[in-house]
Symmetry: C2
Subunit: 268 residues, 2 copies
């Protein structure tokens, strides 16, 4: 039996790792991080050592309670079953189904089509178009779905696994947008913060973004100040160390800031 | 509140629908099928009527207990929580994590990369190569994963949601193989029926294939005789009505035979 803290194999930009980081943070689970840089050294996920942990050569993987679990939603469901407070799945089976439906829509219907390995396969010149198509199509469907499930968050008024999937996916959407060109408007999905009376239909991801700093999987630091930092690629090709404007905060090389929310309600 | 039988929106060749059909059959849930032909009329999933049910324009979707659920794993989890017998998730949280890990590996890591819409996007000349790469890479990882989780089935000795994902994915692998060229050998994943003493490491999908006829989502009929029928495309482009050699069995137009297992242990 393994002892000690859980170990999360993670990459800051991996939206799937990010889902798990939010879950660990919300559940206040102390853990250690091992950074697996998906772009350095030809991709550290291809090392023999990491493949032994996750033969899919993907992050995240979580060593916990003597087992190693890969696949972010399997990890989150395990955390939910063994560390149920605060809950990330509602009690009502129908609401649970809606949470899983939204989560799977993102985890199976959007993310796999725009992840690093697929974009490499598509080729650099087609990457943005390909990614945009997957994300826009998925977000259009998600918008329609959320219209019947969302309250303050994706499903009702409590944060759930669905929100843990949506927030990183919205960040991906922003990152993969052509410069200056946002994704199409999705009123429920990405409703801005000035929605006033439409409070109950507010953006699910917006509210996730607005969760306490610790819930975002970010070390407590001024780096997480709303509207201040954002990740930038450094000249060395290592995007892990810089915020712009510089926040002066030292964070683990595998983890960095959540994209802060802009006045328009979209991450910037 | 909706009354009456659950209604499954399904397509015979959809591996995601197939997962749910197996679950419904194993749990002995009486339901009605509405066929959504993904290739007829330009794709019936694009109809306004169906998009209102599932804005992702994908099957399956299940109307049940007054709600409509899309995403096959969300559906299966809902069935498990509301119709728990026989169970499709083990009781032990660690085993449950393994079942979900294997299921998600297929549902997020393989299937989305080789489904109909993506293959259309890739273009006809690249389809097989693209699909083969996704499946082979996924199966290689799955083989390694199953080495530590499998008993008679994907996880231990009981059929689980993981097997419901694997069997249809193996059928996809067979269907998307270049003629006469099998996928690489995967001893645990696809171990042939003559494994003898290696009983406990036998192919998970093989055992799923060997489940009772009703468990395969197939109407009780001679059409499901092992080794006899297989789907063929008819001259009308409707592959739903013919078996070769003809089995003479009338089955719902949306559902048809599970590919029978060959002596080598692979579906043929």
């Amino acid at each position: 039996m393994q002892v000690g803290k859980p170990i999360l194999y993670s990459y800051f930009r991996s939206s799937c790792s990010w889902r798990v980081r939010i879950a660990l943070a919300l559940k206040n689970i102390d853990y250690e991080t091992v950074a697996v840089n998906l772009t350095k050294d030809g991709g550290q996920q291809f090392s023999e050592e990491f493949q032994a942990l996750n033969p899919m050569k993907q992050v995240p993987a979580l060593k916990i309670d003597g087992i190693t679990i890969s696949q972010s939603l399997a990890i989150i469901e395990y955390l939910e079953e063994t560390r149920p407070t605060p809950r990330l799945l509602p009690q009502d089976p129908k609401k649970r189904a809606q949470v899983r439906m939204v989560s799977d829509l993102i985890a199976s219907g959007i993310q796999p089509l725009q992840n690093l390995s697929v974009l490499k396969q598509v080729g650099q010149e087609n990457q943005l178009t390909w990614a945009q198509q997957a994300i826009t199509s998925g977000f259009n469907a998600l918008e329609q779905t959320l219209q019947s499930t969302a309250g303050r968050f994706c499903v009702g008024d409590e944060v759930s696994m669905a929100d843990l999937c949506l927030a990183p996916q919205v960040a991906n959407a922003d990152r993969l947008s052509p410069a200056g060109q946002g994704t199409p408007p999705h009123p429920v999905l990405g409703h801005s913060s000035h929605c006033g009376p439409q409070e109950t239909a507010r953006s699910s991801w917006h509210n996730t973004v607005a969760m306490p700093t610790t819930a975002r999987g970010i070390p407590r630091s001024p780096c997480s100040q709303e509207g201040v930092p954002r990740l930038v690629d450094t000249p060395e090709g290592d995007p892990l160390r810089a915020c712009s404007p510089p926040c002066g905060v030292s964070v683990p090389s595998s983890e960095l800031c959540f994209p802060p929310i802009s006045p328009s309600g979209r991450p910037r």
